[in-house]
Subunit: 335 residues, 2 copies
Amino acid sequence: MNNKQLKLADLAKLAGVSTSTVSRALNDNPLIKKETRDKLKQLAKQHNFSLNTAASRLRSQKTNVVAVIINFDSGTEQSINDPFLLKVVGEINLALNKQGLELLLSNSFMAGDDWANYFINSRRADGIIVVGQGKDPTNIEAAAAAGVPLVVWGDPKTPSNYPIVGSDNFVGGRLATEHLLAAGAKKILFLGDPGHAEIGERYRGYLAAITTAKATPHVVSIDITSRAAYQGINQLLVEKGLCFDGIMACSDMVALGAMKALKERYISIPNDVALVGFDDIAMADISHPSLSSIKQNTQQASVILVEKLLAQLQGHSAESQVIEIELVNRQSSKR
Amino acid sequence: MNNKQLKLADLAKLAGVSTSTVSRALNDNPLIKKETRDKLKQLAKQHNFSLNTAASRLRSQKTNVVAVIINFDSGTEQSINDPFLLKVVGEINLALNKQGLELLLSNSFMAGDDWANYFINSRRADGIIVVGQGKDPTNIEAAAAAGVPLVVWGDPKTPSNYPIVGSDNFVGGRLATEHLLAAGAKKILFLGDPGHAEIGERYRGYLAAITTAKATPHVVSIDITSRAAYQGINQLLVEKGLCFDGIMACSDMVALGAMKALKERYISIPNDVALVGFDDIAMADISHPSLSSIKQNTQQASVILVEKLLAQLQGHSAESQVIEIELVNRQSSKR
DNA sequence: AAAATAATTGCAAACGTTTGCATAAAGTTC
DNA sequence: GAACTTTATGCAAACGTTTGCAATTATTTT
């Protein structure tokens, strides 16, 4: 670092113009003549100048920062290490950057309950992206009601006064289940907790397919972790034996947990039990047998999330939107 | 949001004191009488007040923000979706929060090459945590030379003028290899790119164990992705057949890719080929057979990273530090 | 009880931008 | 070439905190 940090005024003196001119030039304001703008920008680069964002934010009341909150339920073991959620965060980061926005990573611990206050009133960020609806929408609703620019990754069919972007979980659940039925499965388990918003929709999709096929639904309600899935399936096998021939898992991690329990008992996948997951994480392709899954287009979703947030920042409103999903057919469900 | 955003001055008027008093009270400055402090804090809470961080940062020249840069090599396919790197980011987030610091998530795309300038001069953050050394240390070195408070997650044995915190990769590589040798493997592959700092150390550990055992080293240099590993092993099997009986993989994702290639050809793990990974990600435990791995204590490392950054922020210096590692013995290497 | 000390609080000047308005320079029209 | 428009720049006032120093009040000492 230089012994003295350059500021706008210094740069202005160097160039023999006023600070306003430099400020406008660096912000590419067309009020300033093109040549002057270019000259000043080059000078800034030459001297390694960079604007003091604190001052800029104070004066302009804009931060160009978006807070991303990973929204865990307090009751779950699902952690910040959940690969799918982190993947979504990664994609959002990319999408934000492409719009010149920065990402303040946060969680319920840091932000407390009053998000409007913590992020917006304090000028930490201009808007909020919430990853995951969680079981309890209170905080989200409060923030939205306070007029905070806000978008949520979750189930877009949930009625809400804020835009939710996410996959069509109902259709996903139905597709997965129909696929299992088509593969010849008669007794298909739903593995996951229907109390959770997105998973609930998947469950209803499952239910729709099952009832259409006049089969009997069967839920094994567990936490969204592979460990819980492993234990759940293990216990079921111990207590009741192999009483099913298909599993629709609420996530890939859960599916992989189940897969392990089955493989340990030499239950063949897909011959004895056909298996479909949800999310299409990297591991789905690399597991053996590879895991059929409902692919969520997180990249597209992230771009749309950011677009909708941007719209709100510019005073427009935005609606929930469903992202297309796709069944990725792999070995775990092939008959 | 209220129609009028409360500021310090308003709160002061409400309480009948000066702004300085409120400011000090909220910052828990002992200059202010305890009762007054408590009273004012309560008043602030009551009115849902929160400080304007932009103003506060401008005046105090401190942001309480730490930039975290995920440092990818341009030549690799390793992406922001890499579960291990994201796990580290998650842990760092927790460790930062515990110290009242916030996390600005960034990457080389946003930050450009001049990190000192982009993050520090601009007052976006007080310090930087770099996740991953990458192949080219230029940017890191430049930032450190500029006097930026900086810590790096990487290989702590790398000579540097900035503190690096990370696992003892050499010992990890040696342990893993010795473990494979002890399991009876004679021809052990090293699967990974030794040109990368951390992986290079793992490779040298491997080499040390191999030469001590008077065996022959054999490197399959691939990118750090499971896909590359899958293809690499596949190709090797096609071209030369099963010419090895052990694999020391440079990461778990790589190991899992290799595992898939082996399983597809009905090569038994661990009987035909014993396999050890590195990182101990969640999937290691849930794969089948479960994957032996060198566990990196990312949580402890994150806490230490933050401590060392904090030390620098307070003007002290900090040294590189080695984090203990541990072999987690699972099925993939059992004989 | 005056003097000295300690404990509280207030005043006012920063921090470094951005931006409405005024001004100066250049170009256009009649 | 005067009057007007257009284009380019500068002036100076915010934005909402924090903090050195001064001022006030309460406490102790002599």
